[in-house]
Symmetry: C2
Subunit: 538 residues, 2 copies
């Protein structure tokens, strides 16, 4: 007998029947509850099966996956929830990337603590919308609290500062975003509007536009300055904000990926001379490419001297502040006007959680918007000062994890992944097949395999040698990805001690389950794969 409230149709059924069954999908009856429990159990089983598999991915080709998702018409009739899950398990779940695998050490995806999975269900079920207090009554205060804790981690203001601002509706200690990209964009939005503020008869860039603002201020154009290693989200932000991505000035770095301070100073002076308005200076605390950290203290001083807005992108590196051993690496971050940190990176939380922290709780006023039907001025609504409107209560993950890990828990996670990265760098150094391309400053290791014919020429590899070695490493990375047992990513490093624009294998270590054995295995696999037909140079 078919269950009365679930949707399970073999044949055409009439509208009244669909209607009754639809209501069953929404109702809070015992029957629906049982169906939900059954689905929940099956999904938990799928999850466990998925997580226990230690491979980085299955061997299936992308084209085959695409082939199973070619139907472009919304089905006319409803289908059963459990049937849908069965299909999904076979076609999608099974072939998902094992981002939590101990040997998936190639991207900034971390393993997750178990509690986030049930909390994911909770966030979905409560369906709070923090854009407005009326749709997120108690959560609003909790999001503010989580942001205040992160603000304190970065800026460490006195108690009375937090007492005053933490639940003060006119203060913005930080803004939750989907991720680092939106956080960086939000920071530069604040910077641009502050720089192009109203003066005399001019009403300000936010309302009059960038073109009118530059005219009012008598500037030729507007620029943003950072190193050549700043994240590509700044290109997007410069484009979006009407500044233009070519007006993002990328100052070269030294061999360790740190901005060249002399060149930076000269760049600023040249901009000033040419009437190019500097909207912001960007410091990097953990470059996506290679983990480099800019000299933040010096950059902050330069920014202060020239009265430039200073933003630090610590999307990856921010949580180092929990580590007594490593926090000094971020010295100077507390002088930044704003700081980006991602929850879904080294806070070990699920995708979709970034934040920008603001030193001055009033600085977000320049992006404030109100609307009669939704966020009224004078309200506690968090949507008043944010890039996004309606959004999920992702900050609940952050609130939970700050309590459940505590500072000392996060400290251990950071210290361990840093130690493991050093282990990997040492292992690479010991193997003649590999070259460590940069001394890792963080838990990101860049290296390459050097095939035999070139190994003997080290260190005298010329540009054409380097190109050949780069092509080899692309083939090697693809072969390992295809095999699916382990995974590192690849990038092209602009500057290294062995040459410029060379392809690097890139390992990102952020999984407490990754062991020294895993790292050795990933490297040994690369040595094995390098002899394969289609990879090797013979």
């Amino acid at each position: 007998m078919p269950t009365p409230v679930n949707i399970q149709y073999a044949v055409e059924i009439d509208g009244e029947d669909i209607k009754r069954r639809l209501k069953g999908l929404f109702s809070a009856t015992d029957e629906t509850r049982e169906l939900e429990m059954e689905l929940d159990r099956k999904i938990s089983d799928c999850i466990q099966e998925f997580l226990r598999d230690e491979r980085a991915s299955t061997e299936i080709e992308l084209a085959a996956l695409a082939e199973s998702a070619r139907q472009s018409r919304v089905p006319d009739l409803p289908s059963g929830v459990l049937e849908y899950l069965d299909d999904l398990a076979e076609s999608m779940i099974r072939h998902s990337t094992h981002t939590a695998s101990p040997r998936f050490i190639g991207h900034m995806t971390t393993a997750l603590p178990y509690f986030v999975r049930p909390f994911g269900k909770l966030i979905t079920a409560l369906n709070q919308n923090p854009v407005k207090v009326e749709t997120a009554k108690s959560f609003t205060a909790f999001e503010r609290q989580a942001l205040a804790m992160m603000h304190r981690l970065v800026y460490d203001d006195p108690d009375d500062f937090y007492d005053h601002h933490i639940q003060q509706k006119d203060s913005t200690l930080g803004i939750i975003t989907t991720g680092g990209t939106a956080a960086n964009l939000t920071a530069l939005w604040c910077a641009r509007n502050a720089s192009l503020k109203a003066k005399d008869q001019f009403k300000g860039g936010a309302s009059e536009g960038v073109s009118a603002a530059l005219a009012a201020y008598g500037d030729r154009d507007a620029v943003i300055i950072g190193s050549s290693l700043i994240h590509y989200s700044f290109d997007k932000a410069a484009d979006l904000l009407g500044i233009g991505s070519n007006n993002l000035i990328r100052v070269p770095t030294d061999e360790n990926g740190r901005i060249d301070l002399d060149l930076l100073r000269r760049t600023i002076l040249r901009c000033r001379k040419l009437n190019r308005r500097i909207i912001a200076l960007i410091g990097v605390a953990g470059a996506t490419d290679c983990g480099a950290i800019d000299p933040l203290v010096e950059m902050a001083e330069i920014a202060r001297e020239h009265q430039i807005y200073f933003h630090v992108d610590a999307a990856w590196g921010g949580p180092l502040l929990f580590s007594r051993l490593h926090k000094d690496k971020l010295n100077g971050i507390e002088m930044a006007h704003s700081v980006t940190i991602d929850g879904h990176k080294q806070l070990y939380l699920p995708m979709g959680l970034g934040m920008v922290l603001l030193r001055d709780p009033q600085s977000a006023k320049v992006i404030e918007r109100n609307a009669q039907y939704i966020i009224r001025s004078g309200s506690h609504d968090l949507g008043k000062r944010a890039l996004e409107g309606s959004r999920p209560a992702m900050a609940l993950y952050l609130h939970a994890s700050l309590s459940i890990f505590g500072s000392r828990g996060y400290e251990i996670l950071i210290d361990e992944s840093m130690r493991m990265a050093r282990f990997m760098a040492d292992a690479i150094r010991e193997k003649p097949e590999f070259q460590l391309l940069m001394e890792p400053q963080l838990n990101i290791v860049t290296y390459r395999y050097v095939p035999k014919p070139w190994r003997e020429k080290i260190p005298a590899l010329d540009e054409s040698d380097n190109d050949a070695v780069s092509r080899f490493n692309i083939r090697l990375q693809k072969a390992q990805r295809r095999e699916g047992k382990g995974f590192v990513s690849r990038t092209r490093l602009g500057r290294t001690r062995f040459g410029n624009s060379v392809v690097a294998l890139r390992a990102v270590i952020a999984n407490p389950l990754t062991t020294e054995h895993d790292i050795r295995t990933v490297l040994d696999d690369q040595i094995r794969l390098s002899a394969l037909e289609g990879v090797s140079c013979e």
Copy 2:
């Protein structure tokens, strides 16, 4: 005896102990599995208790909630997962807004089908990152499929169009965003970059900035045109994109909230005459305020005649396309260059899921970005053409719901909520205490309570009468919100048949569990509350 892998500390413990316990939070052992199951059961119980409560909210004051979230320091030591949940249940979950309550009919939050809750856990557990195929191998194809289905719903191109584009890496049928705000921003970003494209020696606005682009094109400034009822996200977008929010031209509407076409034509001609570059024309399909739908066919024709990019914001109204009875209301939407639809509105999905659909699959090329370490040109990576970078696999909800509801399921949800809104409008018309402020075009009803002294003067209420009635309705809405049994929101309508700038009570009907009885109760409660001290005018 304490469980060995969970974190439960009463007293200070040493680092090795924390380390071991931390690993337990991440490991896939049977022990961790049991702890996860226990947490999962407790969270399910919390959810059921929460969902069974039919109140719109508890009576607790915001200030009391804020008081419980004033601690601004990350705790030093870890705390137990279950202990944290106990605290959370008491302080946060219990006082969350019941957005799914049948009498919470005030905002665009809907009730949710049960299957999204376990799916929320699944999305969290898989932790795919669709920015890149390497971190979302199979999911990439599924997100493309869900977007193609939505594209087909709107544009209904022939089979061979979808066969070609659905899994074609160079085509973008749509872009998933956190919500309507980011979707509208993305659409206008495409529009602006297309309008300010490269020509002759000029490299285009995306790379050179808005100011240089206007100079290259010889335009005074850039504008965006829509009705006075467009969503406030367009103000944000105009600000963000460097156009300036004052250059968002809001053309007045008629009494039904539809843009005045004569004024629109005149506005366009005036802009052309003054060398003001028109970046886009925006049509509304379901105004947030009152549900009004612009005359889309006529607007599309005007846009075509003047070669202006036409964007339709159907964040709320888009799913009407599933209804054979109501889809004609959106005629003309298929002529838009881009269309915003929210999943977390009338697709009955959780917060955090919006999308913009693009008529021309090549039109997103103008916002494309690549980066060596993450999204390489020529790849299948979805992050190449998107506002956001790393983001969660929210489109899985969409993929699931399109199958599980089917077109006919969504049709019923739409038809029922439209019927229920008409029922509410009729009930309001029948009660002498109320005035229906606008004939509802969609499932949003705007009305107000008219206290006795003014009731007799209808329809001759002057401005000061209207102001007094507005103040009364603000008090009434707050009193009902405070009581917590039911909830409607309020807004201020610019233009109604009874006066301009009047405060309206605003009901949004999007809950299959809301009955005629619920609606009558919410209205009866308002009549009862209107006599309360502090609300009434006596």
